[in-house]
Every structure is written in structure tokens, then in C-alpha cells.
Amino acid sequence: MPEMEAVKPLLAQFKDERANLIPILQEIQAAFSYLPEEALRRVARKLHVPVTDVYQVATFYRCFSLKPRGRHLVQVCLGTACHVRGGDLVLERTQTETGAGLSGTSPDLEFTVEPVRCLGCCGLAPVMRVDRDTFAHLDQAKVRGIVNRYHPRRKPATVDKIAASPEKVRS
């Protein structure tokens, strides 16, 4: 598997210690945007731990994904402050607008939408993060504009006029 070649140097940075399991998985997750099965098997061999342990850790923590994620990771905050200001509705709207639905990833692999337990921006609720950008003071109307901004085949300009323009403009 050619992509596994990229795992080798990643693994080489770490000592063969159990404590490095989570940091290694984080590196793989960052590099591949998911944890390929073969990579997990290699990690298990390297650290001399059973594959079951690696698999358990990989499925326990939220920042790991065993399935390929979309090109953009959309994290909609469901912290309490966001919830009381309608974060759940924003999430639902985001799932529809991206086409990700409840499965998490849109069929065109553009977006993965995940609810997230508090981004710590409660003062600006409701918020969501797309890749590295955080958007504040959302409502349902702003979602389409934000999604379109990241979608390669939709132009932000075609956003219906009524939808209020999102507060954030990033290229």
C-alpha cells in the first residue's frame, strides 16, 4: 500500500512506548484525516500492544475516525450556551446544507459534519468551526452561506439574497 509509506516516518519519530499510542494516532489522524486499518496494525506491532487495544483506543476517543473524512471538517458546537441559543437547529441545518445528513460525511466527500462538545467560545454562541476558521453568532440563515464558501462547485454569490451574510469572510 503506497499510502502506508507515509506512516513509516511518522512512526519513526516515536519511541516504542505505550504512552505514545495516542500521540501517534493523533499524528496519523492529522496526516490522513482518518486512521487506516493497516496503519493501526503497524502501530500495534511497533508498540507491542494487541490490535484490540489500539482499536479500542481508536474508537474511544472522539478525535479519531476510522472512516475517511470529507475535505472539510465542520464542527458544530453543541455546548450548553450554544444549545440554549439554538445550536441544535444550526447543526441540523448544516447537515442538510452540506448533504452530510446524519451519516456525518457528504456523499461527495466534501464535508464531514460533527457535533462537538463545546469549542469554548460560549460568549459568541452559537458557533461552528470549519477546518481552522470559527464562525460566531450563527443562526440557520447563515449556514448556507458558510457552507457554500467552502464548497468548490457552489458560488457564495449565488446565496439567496435573503440569507443574512455570515459574519466571516475568508478566502
Binding site: E37, L40, P50, V51, T52, D53, V54, Y55, Q56, T59, F60, L66, K67
Partner: protein, 260 residues
Amino acid sequence: MVHITMNGLAVEAECGSSLLEVARFYNFPIPTLCHEDGLNSYGACRLCLVEIGEGPKSKLVAACGYRVEEGMKVRTNSMRVQRARRLLLELYVATCPQSKRIQDLASEYGVRQCRYQPVDGQPGAPWDPKANCIQCGLCVRICAEQMMAGAIGFSGRGKSRHVARPFGMTSEQCRQCGACLYACPVCELRCQASTAESLLCNGCLNFSPVCFQSYSDAMCFLEPCHTCELSGPFRHEVGIKVHALHDAGQKVAPSTGELK
């Protein structure tokens, strides 16, 4: 040796032993579902709750994992313990109504009602291994600790936690020894007396001998069913149990792993 008071009785216990060991040594019955001698204690089933301490600082702890301390006061059958046990068994019945072991315990400890609604598929319908497994972890521990295989483990967390094989496939470590089946506390004979109206059987209270032999099909909580892949000679040894498991497993086990 440490000195403790257990149910008002001054007793001696060996240093480092668990409350469960001490209680059983002195013949105080404590029900368990996730404890098996020879395996590390795990503390998942919570059925072995006992009350320690006195007054407002008293609390319930799992006896299997709590080590004796000098001078501690333990009560294995206080009102509080009984209430917890009953509520717990009510919850167990709702989770796995087809387990005869659980129904028996519920009868024994005086559970007279089950106020929960059946989970999807219950009752009568084939069990859903993910929903009905009580996750006592005995299969996982016997595989790792006694068979030195570590072929199965837990996956996920919270409501989506379940016993699984990595990537939904039998791993190289699995020798198909069947120890996991042997260890499972609830996959023995199936209680079929629970109905949609009442998940609680309580049949064992009313009839003797208990739960006639007619219910001979067993359950398996691995997904996909582990036994379905066991080979012939083994099936002979375990006999009817595995046969039944096999048939049942065919019906319910999704053939795809969660990854594919």
C-alpha cells in the same frame, strides 16, 4: 490481617483482599455478574454493591474492586444495598430479558416490576447483540488473561460501546477456543417467558422446577456472532449450545464488519 466489621460482625481479613472475597469467605451472599475467580476484578456490573462507612459519609461501593481497610464497617445487605440491587436488576431485566440468569437473580432479589419499555426488537424477536449485551467484560478478560490472546475487546464508548473484534474480523490472535462463550454469564439458556407486557418473568418464583428445559436455545453477544465461525470438531464438544448459537447467530449477525 486487618480487622473489619461486616454486617455487625467483627471479622478478620487478609490484607489486600477485596470486600467480595471477604464477604464470600464469611458466607455473606453477594450477587455478581462480572466477577469470576481467576480473572481480574472489573467492577462493571455494579451488582456487588455494598455499603461502607457510617452516617452521612456512608456510600455504596463495588465489593469486587474495593480493598479491605483496617477498621472499616461494611454492610452487605442494608436497605440501601437492597434497594440498589432491586433497581439494578430491574434495569438488567430490561436490558437482557431473555437471560435466564438475570431473570433468576431478579426473582431471587425480589424484583416485582419492570417499568422500562423493551428496547427495539425485544421481546420475542431475536436479540440485538449490541443492545442486549450487559458488557460485563468477562469474555474480554478471559480471552486476554487466561487465553493470552486478546482477540476481542471493547469498542467505542458510552451508548455505542460494545464487545467487538478489531475491524469486525477474526484476528490472528483468535484460536477459536470458545472461552468467551464459556465465560458469558447471560448467554446460557434463554428465558422466553418475558413478554411485551412484562419483561419480567418471575416464573422461577411460581414454578418448580424452574423454567422447564424446553427453552434450550442460547445467545451470543459478539457481533458478528463468534460461534458462527467456529469449526466442526469444536461444535461437537460444546454440543447443543453451540448449535443453537450458530443458528441464532446466522439470523441476526450482520455479515459486514462496522468498517466496511
